[in-house]
């Protein structure tokens, strides 16, 4: 009973964090067709914004939404400076990998300069602990497990049930055709980045609430998000979400039975095996072919 609860809880928690990170990356990929390698840094910056606002005396309930909104602006700005001017160039994907890495490095060192290397922590979403099925867990983690699916569902509904979401899904598929039906391409690209950066900031706030923050805290989550997105299939939003929880549970099972040190190696082994059998990702076929 104890093992099951441990694995279930660990899987749900890690899966939520991964999903939160990966979905922004997937959103930018599916709308603009580029990989944003500063996504991890955006997550870090969101956490630092939240920390700063709380440090200035704002209540977390106020500070967190403001940090998320500020990051939407940062995402928009990032898109306008290092992505939008390059659209239409040859090798766009590779060029944007470099420009977003460069922007990420700039932001990372800026944060280091501004806030210093000392680790910080932001208050948890919900303070306190609870016993669940014989396992001691923090209410912060429970809150993440509950809040994440709600936000992901809201995002899914926005993309699939609103006309603006539809426009967002359409714009990268054919820019000329998008212009000719009257879509504002510049605005939509900015919107995709703004939403992705907000989601990253939220992931950063989640992470900063139970782990110490440093300017390089985004590196590992970015790597995980990349794995999730590639594993899940990069042609949709729902693929990476399922993959995030799958990987969360995989890690929980591995670290319970084989230990934490073996987990990354086993994860990569599973990833390589999956991609050999199904190179487009495990959930990719859902979005191809007939509806």
């Amino acid at each position: 009973m104890n093992a099951l609860a441990d694995i279930l809880f660990g899987g749900l928690f890690q899966g939520s964090l991964y999903a939160m990170m990966a979905v922004g990356l997937a959103l930018v990929w599916t709308t603009i067709g580029v990989f944003n390698f500063s996504h991890g840094v955006l997550m870090m910056l969101g956490a630092y914004f939240a920390w700063q606002l709380v440090d200035w005396g704002l209540a977390p309930a106020l500070a967190f939404p403001i940090a998320v909104l500020l990051m939407a602006g940062v995402g928009w700005l990032l898109q306008a400076t290092v992505v939008r001017p390059l659209i239409g160039r040859a090798n766009l994907v590779l060029v944007v990998v470099i420009t977003t890495l460069a922007a990420g490095s700039l932001i990372e060192n800026g944060v280091l300069e501004l806030w210093g290397p000392r680790s910080k922590q932001i208050p948890p979403l919900v303070a306190g602990n609870a016993m669940l099925g014989g396992v001691g867990v923090s209410l912060h983690q429970i809150a993440i497990i509950v809040v994440t699916p709600i936000i992901l569902l809201a995002l899914w509904l926005f993309l699939n049930r609103t006309r603006l979401g539809l426009a967002l899904r359409a714009v990268a598929q054919n820019e000329d055709a998008a212009c000719l039906v009257g879509l504002n391409v510049t605005m939509l690209y900015g919107l995709a980045f703004a939403i992705a950066a907000s989601l990253a900031a939220l992931a950063g706030i989640f992470l900063g609430g139970y782990r110490f923050m440093t300017p390089v805290m985004g590196a590992d989550p970015l790597l995980k998000a990349l794995i999730v997105v590639v594993f899940g299939g990069i042609s949709s939003i729902s693929g990476p979400i399922f993959a995030a929880y799958l990987i969360g549970f995989f890690e929980a099972i591995c670290s319970y039975y084989f230990g934490l040190y073996w987990t990354p190696a086993l994860l990569f082994a599973a990833l390589i095996l999956t991609l050999m059998i199904k190179p487009e990702g495990i959930f990719a076929s859902r979005s191809r072919g007939l509806a």
Partner: protein, 237 residues
């Protein structure tokens, strides 16, 4: 009826290459307008400049009484000047229904969305059967139907069709020609680029022969012309 669209002295191109050399056309006065001429001489470039996909270097474009030279494609669509580009691949991963609701994205088209949807379904019964199918799974002819359908959803005052029957099998081509004629009969003026001269003559008697980025010959309604004259223009004497 006054001119809906007047293009005068339009110069445009790509980078340092100039394709259009001060071209001028009028449309809307005598109903439909046909453009023809050899490939690579500026027909498509002219249409791209008119619909705002390409910024002209000089000249002016007036539509419905307003100067639209250099306006964004988005605001030109909102004015009711709608362009169906050549070989439009549309949005491969979206369904036909999704494409139709994107067609009605412009604020001016929203109030007419339901009516226009019925119109498209009546015009292309083939599409109405497979509303939930993705565009990438459609044949070239069906995709062309969706393209025209999307344009109708934008509630056009003037519709530009760039080679609507290019590369289609005869049977589906007939179907499309009939649909285009129906759209025209319903009162939407057209500008059509087409290689099929017979179809062009059935649609309109106001033609422009475009060569070297200029109008070489304008055939106005009432001018006597025969199929053989047009063939002579195409291929030289």
């Amino acid at each position: 009826m006054t001119n809906m669209l007047s293009v005068t002295g339009l110069t445009a191109g790509y980078g340092r290459v100039t394709v259009l050399h001060g071209i001028g056309i009028e449309a809307g006065k005598h109903g439909n307008v046909g453009l023809f001429g050899p490939n690579g001489h500026g027909k498509t470039t002219l249409l791209r400049a008119v619909s705002g996909l390409l910024k002209p270097k000089a000249g002016s474009i007036v539509f419905d009484g307003a100067d639209i030279t250099g306006e964004s494609a988005r605001s030109i669509v909102a004015r009711g000047l709608v362009h169906v580009p050549q070989g439009n691949t549309l949005f491969p991963d979206l369904t036909i229904a999704d494409c139709m609701s994107l067609g009605a994205f412009s604020p001016h088209a929203r109030p007419h969305e339901a009516a226009n949807k019925e119109r498209v379904a009546a015009l292309f019964p083939k599409l109405a059967e497979r509303w939930r199918q993705r565009v990438r799974t459609l044949s070239g002819g069906e995709r062309q139907m969706v393209s025209i359908g999307v344009a109708l959803m934008s509630h056009p005052k003037l519709l530009i069709l760039d080679e609507p029957t290019l590369g289609l099998a005869p049977k589906i081509k007939d179907e499309l020609c009939k649909a285009v004629l129906d759209i025209s009969k319903a009162g939407v003026p057209l500008i059509v680029v087409e290689q099929d001269v017979e179809f062009l003559l059935e649609l309109t008697n106001h033609l422009y022969f475009i060569n070297h980025g200029q109008v070489e010959t304008e055939i106005k309604p009432g001018d006597s012309l025969a199929h053989s004259d047009i063939m002579a223009m195409y291929f030289g004497q």
